[in-house]
């Protein structure tokens, strides 16, 4: 089953008179349950591709279909709804809300989906356990290490049981040990829950976790292969 499908997608950024072609006609299909790495050097278009699949941005041309829904023409609120129910995000800079505890950060997407307090509590406790952060539930981000923060971010991304989790350089700000912990966690969750993971990286140690590797260069897919 296709979770995301991009057809002839281009994305051009204009800054003043200067046009930057971030994507030059990308065709890509992500199937349910994949654990896919988008790789390539800086400026190759990895982050842009994730943002388009995550409905955070819209293509200049081409078609982006997420969970069977064409994203072009969706207004801001419709895109927010699509993200809320379908997509989870993990960012390079951890991206937790600093005033909220680990528990509350994980709870936030559930609050937005209108889950009852009891449902929220049950789901958050389950996720805290899954990422081994139960003992730090009431710590705020500044009381957690980078690796712990990223594990909370993983739990938050999973909270609404999205079809696809998009991770942009999830280990870039972590040391090797914490980076491996986070990748192991993502891999475990992918296997156990069947959640689709697409992550952008240029770290060879991370790429080896992927079952499919899509290589981008200058806004085009240079290579797309199944590795395991």
């Amino acid at each position: 089953m296709e979770v995301a499908k991009l057809t002839a997608v281009t994305r051009i950024y204009k800054v003043g008179e200067v046009e930057t072609h971030a994507l030059r006609g990308v065709n890509l299909t992500i199937q349910s349950g994949e654990f896919t790495a988008l790789v390539g050097p800086s400026g190759s278009g990895k982050t842009t591709l994730l943002q388009l699949m995550g409905c955070l941005d819209q293509p200049t041309s081409g078609q982006v279909v997420v969970d069977g829904q064409e994203t072009r023409g969706l207004n801001r609120n419709q895109r927010a709804d699509l993200r809320k129910g379908t997509i989870g995000f993990i960012f390079q800079f951890f991206a937790l809300i600093p005033t909220l505890t680990a528990y509350e950060n994980i709870e936030m997407p559930l609050l937005l989906t209108g889950k009852s307090p009891a449902e929220r509590r049950e789901r958050v406790m389950e996720l805290l356990e899954a990422v081994d952060m139960t003992s730090h539930a009431h710590h705020r981000p500044d009381q957690l290490s980078g690796g712990q923060q990223q594990r909370v971010a993983v739990a938050r991304a999973l909270s609404t049981q999205p079809k696809m989790i998009l991770a942009d350089e999830p280990t870039a700000n972590l040391d090797t040990e914490n980076g491996e912990q986070v990748m192991n966690l993502m891999q475990k969750l992918n296997r156990e829950t069947g959640t689709t993971f697409v992550f952008a990286t240029h770290d060879p140690r991370v790429i080896r976790y992927a079952r499919r590797v899509v290589t981008l260069r200058d806004g085009l897919i240079e290579d797309d292969r199944i590795v395991s």
Partner: protein, 405 residues
């Protein structure tokens, strides 16, 4: 359990000093508004009360030709058998008190000093004389059959260096157009708190005033106080007669009524200006918060927060600031108003002609002003907060995520 208000509360706690200063701006703004409202209310009440109790009453029954500016005591301008008319009026249910009064122009002279005055003939026993009786600071009040006694106001006594028991020479314009004079003894000195009034009035018993001015069995008008002054128009309509003119307090004090209306309009504009300034402080705080939290807004947006939910989050912050600041503002405004309501603010003789304003203004904060101004401040603050809230809601998530914060 997470909620918008919990998040808002914690967000405000990030910059405690800034949040406190913003709430303080609201607090001081509202306290100022309440104090201004209390000051105007006190001033208007004092002015209205003094004017009605001392000068016009709620109703005056006059002869058809009476002209209050002339102060003539010629019989054709006066009411005959005034006690009878007053007696009939007092029988009405709405009337608290009705008493005849004679007003004549005169001059007080003592040694080489003299001063123009109104000579007011009053029925000493009438309850309408309460302001003079209550304001008696030396000597005793007039008695019905006193033929040589007079009451004078404290400023007049001070200007002419008169004490209780001293004698003063009083000249009066009489009903036949001539002038008469007589020596009177100061029986008492009063202060109504309105210097403008007290420095130009001499009280005599009505019977003596009538004899002195040649206005036998006549009065300038019947001074009527009602149980409820708002009944004045209804009572006046019921009393319509071809023999008398009936003036209500509104007709007799047009300037004062206009001043009250004007004050209300003026106050409203002043309120909006103060609220506008304080709302700007809140907007400034929230705009800073929006720019500081750009990336967070992007994260919240990425995880599915809609524009209206972002607006709700910032409005929750504004509400907390507003509720905290305004609650303190009510306390502060109430405290200041209560203090000056008790001790008053001394302004002295403002010398306003036609308006009897007390020398000391006692602030008076009404529940209606408190509720109206607090709610108006809250609404204006929330409306003003819509700008930063919408600024946050309009951020594109992808751009917000690239924000510096």
């Amino acid at each position: 359990m997470l909620s918008y208000f919990k998040m808002a509360y914690r967000n405000l706690g990030r910059h405690r000093r800034r949040s406190l200063l913003s709430a303080l701006a609201l607090c001081v703004g509202l306290a100022l508004l309440l104090f201004i409202a209390a000051f105007y209310e006190g001033e208007m009440r004092s002015s209205m009360e003094s004017t009605l109790r001392l000068n016009s009453g709620h109703l005056q029954i006059r002869s058809l030709d009476y002209d209050p500016d002339k102060l003539s005591v010629a019989w054709e301008y006066l009411i005959e058998n005034p006690q009878q008319v007053a007696g009939r009026l007092e029988a009405l249910e709405q009337v608290e008190v009705a008493t005849p009064r004679l007003v004549a122009s005169g001059i007080v002279s003592v040694r080489n000093e003299s001063s123009g005055v109104q000579i007011l003939g009053i029925e000493p026993a009438s309850r309408a004389n309460e302001p003079y009786r209550r304001g008696l600071i030396a000597g005793k009040f007039l008695e019905e059959d006193d033929r040589e006694g007079a009451l004078i106001g404290q400023p007049l006594a001070h200007n002419l260096d008169l004490q209780v028991g001293d004698q003063l020479n009083l000249l009066v314009n009489t009903s036949d157009g001539s002038v008469d004079e007589q020596l009177f003894t100061v029986r008492g000195i009063f202060s109504t708190g309105v210097t403008t009034y007290d420095k130009g009035i001499v009280l005599l018993p009505l019977a003596k005033a009538q004899t002195f001015a040649g206005a036998e069995n006549h009065a300038s008008f019947i001074f009527v106080l009602l149980k409820d002054r708002e009944q004045a128009d209804a009572v006046a309509a019921a009393l319509q007669s071809s023999k008398y003119q009936i003036e209500t307090w509104k007709e007799m004090n047009e300037l004062l009524v206009l001043m009250e209306d004007f004050s209300n309009a003026y106050l409203f504009i002043l309120d909006l200006i103060v609220m506008g300034v304080t709302a700007t402080v809140i907007v400034n705080t929230l705009v800073m918060a929006v720019f500081e939290r750009t990336r967070e807004i992007g994260i919240l947006s990425a995880i599915g927060m809609k524009g209206r939910q972002v607006i709700a989050l910032f409005l929750a912050e504004a509400s907390l600031l507003a509720v905290g600041g305004l609650a303190l503002g009510v306390l502060l405004g109430w405290g200041i108003s209560a203090y000056f309501g008790k001790v008053g603010m001394y302004f002295g003789d403002l010398g306003l002609s036609g308006i009897y304003l007390g020398d000391r203004i006692y602030t008076y904060l009404t529940a209606q002003d408190t509720v109206n101004l607090t709610l108006l401040s809250l609404v204006i603050t929330l409306l003003a907060s819509l700008y930063p809230a919408r600024l946050a809601a309009r951020m594109e998530p992808v751009e917000a995520l690239h924000g510096k914060n």
